[in-house]
C-alpha cells in the first residue's frame, strides 16, 4: 500500500467501518465494502493522485460499493439482512435501505459521531470473552491487522483470527444491538471499553511493527475515543483517569525519539520538549479525580504519569511517591507487568540490587516473551555491574523487539556495555 493510502487507512478504516455497520447492519458486509474501497484507491491513486479529501473519498466509495451490492443482490441481501442485521436504536427494527432510493441511503450513511462509540460498545459486549473484545476492537476500530494484534498480545496469529471470526459470528447469531447502552447499563459496560481504549493507545505509543517508534494515528484515535467517553460520562472518574493517563503519556512523545528515530528513555529525555499544554490538561484531570476520591487503576496510573511530569529533571523524580502509587495499583491489579514497573521504581528509590531482588521475586514465566521485562532487567544488571548477564538480557530483548527504533536503542545499549567490558 502506498504511504498516503496507509495513512488514510489508519485514520479512516475504523470510522468508515463503524458507519457502514450501521448502514448495512452487518460487520462482514461493512468490512468488505471498506476493503473494496481501499483496493480501488490502491489502483487509482498512484495514477490519478490522492484526492483532496482522502477520508471522504474512501467513505463515499465504500458506501457506493455497498449500495451496488445491495442493488445487485437485493433479494438475497434482503433475506440475509432481515435475519442478521444488527439493530441500531435510531432505526425502525425492520427498516432496510431501499437500494433504488439514493436519497435515503445518503441520509443513512452520513457519518454519525456516535458510530464509533456504538462500535466500541459492540466490540466490548459483555457476552464476548475479554480476549475477543480486545481483538475485535483493534481490528474494527483500530484498523490493526491480525499479525499486529497477535504481537501486541503475545498469542499466535491463528488464535487472533479465530477469536475475531467467532466473536463476529456470536454477535450476529445473537442479534447484538448496535447502540450506545442506556444510562443504567453504561457504568458496567464502560469498564471493558476503557481497558480496550488504553490498549489501543499503548499499541500506538510503541507500535509493534513499522519503522517509527510510535504510530501517532492510533494514539490520537485512542485519545479521541477517550475524549468522547469523558464527554459522554463526565462523572465517571476512571474514564477521566484514562484520558489523563493518555494525555500525560502523549506529552512526552516528541522527547521519546532522537533525530534518527531511536528511542530515548524517560530518564534521558529532554524535558523541555514535553508538551506543556497536554501536561496541564492531564494535571487538571488528575486533580479532578483526586477531588472525587474514588481511585481506580487508570486514575492511579495517571497520578504516576503526573509525578513524572512534575519532575523538572529525572533526578527530581519523587520515586517514593511512585512506589507508593504502584503498591496501590498492584493491590487492585496484581499482574506481572505492574509488578515489573514497580520493581523498576524500587530500583530508582533503593538502587539496582533492590530492583533486581524485586524482579527475582516475580513469577517470570508470563514475562518470558515480554520485551520490556528483558530490557528492564538488562538495564538493572548493567547498573549493578553484572555485565555478562546484562548483555545476555539485552540479546533476549533485541530478539523480542518488533519495533526498529526500539531495537536500535537496545542494540546501542548492548554495544556500549560490551565495549565497556574490553
Amino acid at each position: 500500500m502506498p504511504d498516503a493510502l496507509t495513512e488514510v487507512f489508519r485514520r479512516e478504516a475504523g470510522r468508515c467501518t463503524a458507519t457502514l455497520i450501521r448502514v448495512l447492519g452487518d460487520i462482514d458486509l461493512a468490512e468488505d465494502a471498506v476493503a473494496e474501497a481501499f483496493a480501488i484507491a490502491a489502483e487509482q491513486w498512484p495514477t490519478r493522485g490522492v484526492p483532496p479529501n482522502p477520508g471522504g473519498w474512501i467513505t463515499t466509495t465504500a458506501r457506493n460499493r455497498a449500495i451496488d451490492r445491495l442493488r445487485r443482490e437485493s433479494s438475497r441481501t434482503d433475506r440475509y439482512l432481515a435475519s442478521h442485521r444488527l439493530q441500531a436504536d435510531d432505526m425502525a427494527p425492520d427498516h432496510l435501505p431501499d437500494p433504488d432510493d439514493s436519497g435515503s441511503l445518503d441520509e443513512l450513511v452520513e457519518v454519525v459521531a456516535d458510530d464509533q462509540l456504538r462500535l466500541m460498545f459492540l466490540c466490548c459486549h459483555p457476552a464476548l470473552a475479554p480476549d475477543a473484545q480486545v481483538a475485535l476492537t483493534l481490528r474494527l476500530l483500530g484498523g490493526l491487522d491480525t499479525p499486529e494484534i497477535a504481537r501486541g498480545f503475545l498469542v499466535s496469529e491463528a488464535t487472533v483470527a479465530q477469536r475475531i471470526v467467532r466473536a463476529k459470528r456470536k454477535l450476529r447469531d445473537n442479534h447484538a444491538p448496535y447502540r450506545v447502552p442506556a444510562a443504567a447499563e453504561l457504568p458496567d459496560r464502560l469498564h471493558t471499553v476503557l481497558a480496550i481504549v488504553y490498549l489501543i493507545y499503548t499499541e500506538g505509543h510503541t507500535a509493534t511493527s513499522g519503522d517509527g517508534l510510535t504510530r501517532v494515528d492510533l494514539s490520537r484515535e485512542a485519545i479521541r475515543l477517550g475524549r468522547v467517553l469523558t464527554e459522554l460520562m463526565p462523572d465517571e472518574p476512571e474514564a477521566v483517569g484514562l484520558l489523563a493517563l493518555m494525555l500525560l503519556t502523549e506529552a512526552r512523545r516528541l522527547a521519546r525519539t532522537d533525530v534518527d528515530g531511536s528511542m530515548i528513555r524517560l530518564a534521558d529525555q529532554d524535558r523541555t520538549r514535553w508538551d506543556r499544554t497536554l501536561i496541564a490538561e492531564g494535571h487538571a484531570l488528575v486533580r479532578a479525580c483526586l477531588r472525587r476520591d474514588q481511585p481506580g487503576p487508570f486514575q492511579i496510573q495517571a497520578a504516576i504519569a503526573a509525578v513524572h511530569a512534575d519532575a523538572v529533571t529525572a533526578d527530581d523524580t519523587d520515586w517514593s511517591q511512585i512506589v507508593t502509587l504502584y503498591d496501590q495499583l498492584y493491590a487492585r491489579r496484581p499482574n506481572p507487568v505492574v509488578a515489573l514497573n514497580r520493581a523498576v521504581a524500587v530500583a530508582e528509590l533503593h538502587g539496582p540490587d533492590a530492583g533486581l531482588a524485586a524482579l527475582t521475586a516475580l513469577d517470570v514465566l508470563p514475562l518470558e516473551g515480554y520485551q520490556p521485562y528483558h530490557a528492564a532487567r538488562a538495564d538493572l544488571l548493567a547498573r549493578a555491574g553484572r555485565r555478562e548477564a546484562a548483555v545476555a538480557a539485552y540479546d533476549r530483548a533485541v530478539e523480542l523487539s518488533g519495533n526498529p527504533a526500539e531495537r536500535r536503542f537496545l542494540e546501542q545499549q548492548r554495544a556500549t556495555l560490551a565495549g565497556d567490558r574490553r
Partner: protein, 117 residues
C-alpha cells in the same frame, strides 16, 4: 423478532421436586411471577421445568429402524432443569430477561439464540 432459549442449569443430578417444601414453594412463586412478566411484555413463547434427567429416553432412527436406550443422551454432570423460549428485540433485551430468570430460579441460566426461521 428474534427468539432465545433461556435454559436453567443444575451442577449435578437433581431429584423430583418436593412441592410441599417451603423452598420449592418460594421458587415456584418467583418463577410464576417471572412468567407473568414475560406474558405481560409479550415476550412469552414457551417455558417449563423438566423432570430429572434419569427420566429421559434416547431414541435413534437409523436406516428405517427406530431404537431406544435409557437416557439421558449427554453424559455430563450438569443437568438442564428447564427452559424458556422468549421473544426479545435483541441480545441485550434477552440478557436482561435472563438476569431476571436467574434471580427467579436462583441458579445460573444459559442464553442461546434460536436458528432463524
Amino acid at each position: 423478532m428474534p427468539q432465545y432459549m433461556i435454559s436453567v442449569w443444575h451442577d449435578g443430578p437433581y431429584d423430583d421436586l418436593d412441592v410441599s417444601s417451603p423452598e420449592v414453594q418460594r421458587l415456584f412463586s418467583q418463577v410464576s411471577a417471572f412468567n407473568a412478566s414475560l406474558e405481560q411484555a409479550g415476550a412469552w413463547v414457551f417455558g417449563t421445568g423438566l423432570r430429572p434427567a434419569s427420566s429421559a429416553t434416547v431414541v435413534r432412527a437409523t436406516g428405517g429402524d427406530v431404537s431406544m436406550t435409557d437416557g439421558p443422551y449427554a453424559e455430563t454432570k450438569e443437568q438442564m432443569g428447564g427452559f424458556w423460549v422468549i421473544l426479545a428485540a435483541d441480545l441485550d433485551a434477552a440478557l436482561e430477561w435472563a438476569g431476571k430468570a436467574a434471580a427467579a430460579c436462583e441458579g445460573p441460566v444459559e442464553v442461546r439464540p434460536t436458528e432463524d426461521a
